[in-house]
Amino acid sequence: MADIEKYLRKSALPHIWCPGCGNGIVLASMLRAIDKLQLDQQKTVIVSGIGCSSRASGYMNFNTVHTAHGRALPFATGIKMANPELNVIVITGDGDSTAIGGNHFIHSARRNIDITTIIFNNSVYGMTGGQYSPLSPVASKATTAPYGVAERPFDIGVLAIAAGATYVARGTAFHATQLTDLMVDAIQNKGFSVVDAITQCPISYGRKNKMGPAAQMLKWQRDHAVPVKAVSKMTPEALRGKFVVGELHRGVAPEYAAEYDKLIESLRVKGGEA
């Protein structure tokens, strides 16, 4: 068992999350990934937005920033550009990253800046008590969708790939070991990486959608997750209502902060010759 307690800021605990919340599982997966990679704590920065999951930054014993709603990625971009030596990991929720922060999400992917974004995806705005998000399934219930969500959700994986992210994966709180491995790969990728971590919100989402308590929601994750390798063997009918887990995409592209450093170097050389 990895010693992940040293990565926790014990003075900031207990956390604010509800009983049964999956955020703790996703956070633990993150800490295990950081431990596996033996990231230098001093050179690692955790940046989060606003929402339940974004409070995780405060519990982590690193350089941490709990920014404004939707704005974790711009802060992270400034941090990475200012000091490319730093490992920059963003913690965000589904609403934080794809609604109010959606523009920053696609542009960070487009730049392929070396930031790892972990989306704690519970399909709902939990902090404000259960409103639907751009990742809430059609017809799911929320306080702002009492008759069911009429909007179509993003497929965040497809969105990230289309926007230019060079590592995209999806995992769940149920498959916590796999989630850790995906995060390891995401952090190692030198570019913009996204891990869509599906997690349960029994209080604000589960109750409203009659999904039962936390354990039952975790089983739902188990029963609806389809491994990447199995997809090709499945019919569209069999895939309906399911989601794919595992590594969804790996690409190669220039990384923005490194490219900028090359520019500085080329100008320095040119300046020296002149």
């Binding site: 405060g58 709990h66 920014t67 704005r71 711009p74 400034g78 200012a82 000091n83 300046g271």
Partner: protein, 379 residues
């Protein structure tokens, strides 16, 4: 000695910021401020610094906050509508005490308004644009050379007091070209962030020093700490109790109020015996000074106080200058913004607002006429 150069206000402002050590700029194109971004895009990489054009105004503000937390002096530039978009994160920078410089080359509003016409539309937005209470520093230069000096001061104030500092340029100063002689780099006083002498274990990121400003350590140096826009204790951790809230909110004001005299920048003109006092700033002050000189030529005892520091409002200075005056004339290129503050400290009876909000800069006669009237003369 540097040679004289023909330079635009926006360019001088950029040069001043770079001279003061700004090495990160994030921005988004908007008229009439875009030259700042263009110049930074060209010059920063040559200085080993970084420029990034972000996807929007909000992202630019977030990026400069992030870069500053990582230890790099940072600046962004915008104009009225973009300044509105940045306000939430300007408040974040106030709350989390992140040194950043925000240049606002003002234009006319509301909304898209007059994108390329001179106005001083954001004087109150600079003070109150972000939600909640906080102390604010805003500086408004009145010439191209002043734009350089103000930029140096802005960077220094931001670093020293850990606060966003607003530079209120206007289109008159931003786009005007004047002959300037810039100071030698060695003659420019540069203030860098203080560093702690404590060990990482002892260090508390938001524990104020004697000057009420906490010591800031950059990310990556081993001084782990939490930064949040929530109310927070000395460790930077969320603390939402009444005592903490009162302490933080008070200090966000008093750390600036206590240095009011030191950071009040202004110039005085013919004030010794002035019975009519013009108080102006930025582009308006240029026409105002011409009008004051014309008034003097007509034998009117008129003088001028040109404010460079707009916020914190230099109330003592204004009261002192106004005490001897029969009338105080306040020309502004807006419907009347700073005049309210002057009325608050001088009294309604004495103050004569003079406003131009048709997208044109003042003609000196716009100000000379009320000067003559205030002196009891007829035109």
């Amino acid at each position: 000695m540097n040679k004289a150069r023909l330079m635009q206000g926006n360019e001088a402002c950029t040069e001043g910021a770079l001279a003061a050590g700004v090495r990160f700029f994030a921005g988004y194109p908007i008229t009439p401020s875009t030259e700042l971004a263009e110049l930074c895009a060209e010059k920063l990489p040559k200085l080993g610094g970084k420029f990034i054009q972000m996807e929007d105004e909000i992202a630019s503000m977030g990026a400069v906050c992030g870069a500053s937390l990582a230890g790099v002096k940072s600046m962004t530039a915008t104009s009225g509508p973009g300044f509105s978009l940045k306000q939430e994160l300007i408040g974040y920078a106030s709350m989390a005490e992140i040194p950043v410089v925000v240049v606002n080359v003002q234009r006319s509003g509301p909304s898209t308004g007059l994108p390329t016409a001179p106005a001083q539309g954001d004087v109150m937005q600079a003070r109150w644009g972000s939600h909640g209470d906080r102390g604010v520093i805003a500086l408004s230069p009145g010439s191209v050379r002043e734009a350089f000096d103000v930029a140096v001061h802005a960077v220094n104030f931001a670093e020293r007091f850990r606060t966003p500092v607003i530079i209120l340029l206007d289109e008159v100063i931003g786009h005007m070209r004047e002959k300037v002689v810039l100071p030698e780099q060695d003659d420019i006083k540069i203030i860098n962030r203080k560093r702690t002498t404590l060990s990482p274990e002892e260090f508390e990121a938001y524990k104020p020093d004697a000057d009420e400003v906490p010591t800031m350590m950059p990310f990556g140096d081993g001084y782990y700490h939490h930064v949040t826009g929530l109310m927070h204790n000395h460790k930077g951790q969320p603390a939402l109790d009444g005592a903490t809230t009162k302490e933080v909110l008070s200090r966000l004001h008093t750390k600036i109020e206590r240095v009011q005299d030191e950071i009040t920048l202004y110039t005085e003109h013919f004030l010794e015996d002035a019975e009519v006092v013009v108080i102006s700033y930025g582009g308006s002050a240029r026409a105002a000074l011409t009008a004051v000189k014309a008034g003097r030529e007509q034998g009117i005892k008129v003088g001028m106080l040109k404010l460079i520091t707009i916020w914190p409002f230099p109330k003592d200075l204004v009261q002192k200058v106004a005490a001897q005056a029969k009338k105080v004339i306040v020309p502004e290129m807006n419907y009347g913004q700073l005049v309210g503050e002057i009325e608050r400290y001088v009294g309604l009876g004495k103050v004569v607002p003079v406003n131009r909000y048709d997208g044109h800069l003042f003609h000196p006669n716009d100000i000379l006429t009320p000067i003559i009237e205030a002196a009891g003369g007829t035109i």
